[in-house]
Assembly symmetry: C2
Homo-oligomer: 81 residues x 2
């Protein structure tokens, strides 16, 4: 059974998001002062082949811990549909 | 009124996603052969101050065209909530 997995990877709340800060000041420089708390993350989408949704979910979480995210500074959210 | 904007930026379908290919072969190398069609994109989340949701949406789209995405090779999806 093929399912669609979506993984969102973000820096943990305490970690300074320099990319987000850069985007925020660039937006400000372009005249958009209404944007605040900018966070930049990665999103990884792929098709996954697994017996059922729970297995796929567990497998994607293992992928995140091993490769897709750096668990020291990043958190992730997994959606399997 | 402050709303939460989420922007997903992905390479357009015809554009070779080298990062996605790299992730796919890394997953394969780690023993996960069930993952296919890996696409890696960016996600940008921020708070936006606007009169209403339609205004915020239009403003975020303008931000995408000017700064957040490269319209030549990237597409984007905007969610304002």
């Amino acid at each position: 059974m093929t399912m669609k997995a979506t993984v969102h990877v973000f820096l943990k709340p305490g970690v300074l998001d320099v990319q987000g800060k850069a985007v925020e000041s660039a937006l400000y420089g372009l005249g958009w002062s209404g944007a605040a708390n900018v966070r930049v993350g990665r999103v990884i989408e792929f098709d996954i082949d697994a017996a059922d949704r729970a297995t796929a979910d567990a497998e994607v979480r293992a992928m995140c811990d091993k490769l897709l995210a750096n668990p020291v500074i990043e958190g992730y959210r997994v959606d399997v549909a």
